[in-house]
Structures are given as structure tokens and as C-alpha cells.
Symmetry: C2
Subunit: 220 residues, 2 copies
DNA sequence: GTCTATACAGGGATAGAC
DNA sequence: GTCTATCCCTGTATAGAC
């Protein structure tokens, strides 16, 4: 009766005794290296060998720990999604206007874009085309995050007269799409996101907030 | 003195006599096949051999006509951008409200998404990460299209009190990003775009149009 | 648990026949 | 202008030493 930790992304063959030494640490290293490879080389250049180069470890470790490159990419998506959810849940819980939502988005942008975590996600999403395993894995990994954003939008809609009119899921998809699309275009022209884009989005959000307030001042 | 047609994406070695027979037709076939490969296999699976399989021609033709796979992808982006610009310029020229702009976007969506042309673009954009040649080529190819959208947004802004406040380029980027992001997510969950998303966007646009009108009814 | 070595498939690209 | 054949490199994945 082996005592495996059995993390959900554990693809290791059955073991017989105790031994996990730096295993979890190594797994983290591999995920981190994959993240870097996705950011720097894109999905097309993210091979097992490229990932190993980025992390300075042996290529075979990927298959031992994650079964395949795709398995690793799914693990990357899941860990990143969990991390992001935990990190931004508190801020999202306090959002009560579109302007504030954009402010959180901007914070996320400032903190995560330069680290390349969003770029990595867009690359994995692009890679999901033509791979059922990746598609399913990524979709699962994103669920907690979209649920979080969806709840926030629910709360925002509840403060306006449009709660019954505008489907929350569509708005969530739209927000997520806007964010990912910005990253996709930023890859093309890096200075795009380094400037006024989010400032403009904040202006637009404040504008709409103000219009909403003017249109329904007695709703609160 | 050779009589080459010298299309901008012509990578063929110098020829000595007359002969262009079905060359242009072949080039079109190759571009079309690349489009299909991008849509069906994604950028990671779009190899010269995969493209040749999709089109039923020989792999070596790609290198003869476009110099490299990347060269072909740039040609794909450029031709698609030109085609889209020509196709939607008339409709965009008549747009005079946000609602109408979204309506054109929806038409573009309905006509192009199922053909996979937008999906192909997102894949090429993803592939541009880590490839300077692709980045530059794609950026160039998109310029006429973004100029078209930018002009439309200029016109929309001119009809509101916010022309001086909101930078047109940021709004253009935002619109493009939203569109591409939708495609990226649609790859993950195909039924996302097959339904209410654009209807909701039209609702939101109409809403904002109404609010703008109410806020500044005497501007026109 | 990590490394080296290796099998084997597939990809980019070119040479040369037609 | 198109095809066949080929070179060489890179990729995935596994076996087995340590």
C-alpha cells in the first residue's frame, strides 16, 4: 500500500516506498520553466527540450513527473489559475463599480503581464486548438477563475437596473476575452500595453459608471 | 531582363523567361491550405508537411513560392487582412453609432468565424511570439485593417463629447483585442460564440448609445 | 528521483529529375 | 513549375544506469 501524495497532476508511476525528497520542488521548477518557455518561445517553440533548457534540468524529468509535455502544460494552467484566483479574490470581492473592476484588472495587468503569466496562458489557449486533451485540461483549470469573475459581475449588475437584462456569463466571457486579446496583441507590439491602454479603459469605465448613475440615481 | 510579376510576397528565385502559368493559382492554393491548417491544427501543428496534406500538394512548393513556412504565414496574414479590409470597408464607412459598429462586428463574426479566418489570425499572432520575422510581418499586414477600424472609431468619437478625451488608438486596440480574445476562448469552448455573446454585446452597445444620447442630447 | 543514452518519428529545407 | 528523394536537425518518449 504505497503512500503517494497523489496530487491531481501526478503522473508518476506507482512507487513502493517512501521517497518524495525534493520531488515537489522539482515539479515546481519544471512548471516555472514551462512558464518561461511559453512566454519567451511561444507555444510553437515550447518543446520538452526547450523547457529543460530554460530550467536547467534534464528533459526526461518532464515525462517522469507529468507524463507528457501536454500534461505539463495543463498543470501549468491549473497552478496559474489557482494562484491567480487566490491572489485576486480579496480585491475582486470588494469591487462595487466598473471603474473599480478595471482598477483590479489594471493591478493584475501590472503585476502579471511583465511576469508573462498571462502571455503563457494565451499561448496555452492557442495550443489547445487541435488537442482535445489540452482543451479539456485548460477549460477545467480556468473554471475557478471564471467563476470568481462571474460572481463579481453578478454583484456589479445587481447594483444597476440591468441585472435581469444582461447575461452574466456573456459579460464574463467578454471581460476575459478582452484581457486575453490585449495580451495577444501585446506580443506583437510590446509597447501597446505599456502605456495608456488601461488608463483609457479606466476612463471609459468611469464614464459608463457616471452615465449609469445619472440614468438611475434612485436605484441604490 | 525577366518579366516577373513581383508580388510583394514573391520569394521565388530569379527566373529567366516567361512562365507564370498557374503559379498565382498555386500560390492561392497554398495560402488557402495554410489557413485550413492553422484553423484545424493550430500554430503548433502547422508544419510545411501538414499544410501540404491539407492542400493535396507537395511540401517543397511552399519553400519555392514563399521561401519558408514563416514567409507563408506572413503572406496568409497579409492576404486575409487585405481581403477583410476590402470586404468590410463599405459597411464600416456607414457606421455612426456603437450599436452599428457592433452590428458590423457581428456580421464579420457570422461570416468569418465559421470559415476560421479569425481563428487562423489568432494562431499566427500566437506564433509571432519568439519570432521577429513573423512579428514584423504580421504587424505590417494588420496596419491597413487597424487604420480602417481606427477611422471608424474617430468618426464615432466625433459625434460625442469625448472625442478629445479618449485616445482613438487605445479604443482601436481594445476593440481588436476583444475580438481576438473571443476567438481564442471560442477555441476552448466552441459553443461560446455560437449564441448570445454578440447579442449581449449589442445590448450593451445600445445601452451605452442611449446613455450617451441622454447625457449629451444637444451635441449633434 | 535524476541523469545519460538512445530509438524513432516528424519537421525544415535543398538538390535535382522531370 | 512541380515532384521525388534526401540530409540533418529537433521532438517525443523510453530504458536503464546511478
Amino acid at each position: 500500500m504505497p503512500d503517494r501524495p497523489t496530487a491531481p497532476d501526478d503522473h508518476r508511476p506507482t512507487r513502493t516506498g517512501r521517497s518524495k525528497a525534493g520531488a515537489e520542488h522539482t515539479r515546481a521548477r519544471i512548471v516555472e520553466a514551462a512558464l518561461q518557455a511559453l512566454r519567451d518561445e511561444g507555444i510553437a517553440g515550447t518543446s520538452a527540450r526547450a523547457i529543460a533548457r530554460h530550467g536547467g534540468f534534464n528533459q526526461a524529468l518532464i515525462f517522469y513527473h507529468f507524463g507528457s509535455v501536454e500534461g505539463l502544460l495543463v498543470a501549468v494552467a491549473r497552478r496559474e489559475s489557482e494562484r491567480r484566483s487566490a491572489l485576486y479574490a480579496p480585491a475582486l470581492a470588494e469591487v462595487s463599480s466598473l471603474t473599480e473592476l478595471v482598477a483590479v484588472a489594471r493591478r493584475l495587468h501590472d503585476e502579471e503581464f511583465q511576469a508573462g503569466t498571462v502571455a503563457a496562458l494565451t499561448q496555452v489557449l492557442a495550443g489547445a486548438v487541435g488537442s482535445d486533451e489540452l482543451s479539456r485540461g485548460i477549460a477545467d483549470s480556468l473554471r475557478p477563475w471564471t467563476a470568481l469573475v462571474g460572481d463579481t459581475i453578478d454583484r456589479l449588475l445587481a447594483g444597476t437596473p440591468f441585472g435581469g437584462v444582461l447575461p452574466r456569463d456573456d459579460l464574463t466571457s467578454g471581460v476575459a476575452a478582452l484581457f486575453l486579446g490585449i495580451e495577444l496583441l501585446t506580443g506583437l507590439d510590446p509597447q501597446m500595453a505599456d502605456g495608456s491602454l488601461f488608463a483609457t479603459m479606466e476612463s471609459v469605465a468611469t464614464l459608463i459608471d457616471g452615465l449609469l448613475l445619472a440614468a438611475a440615481p434612485t436605484t441604490g
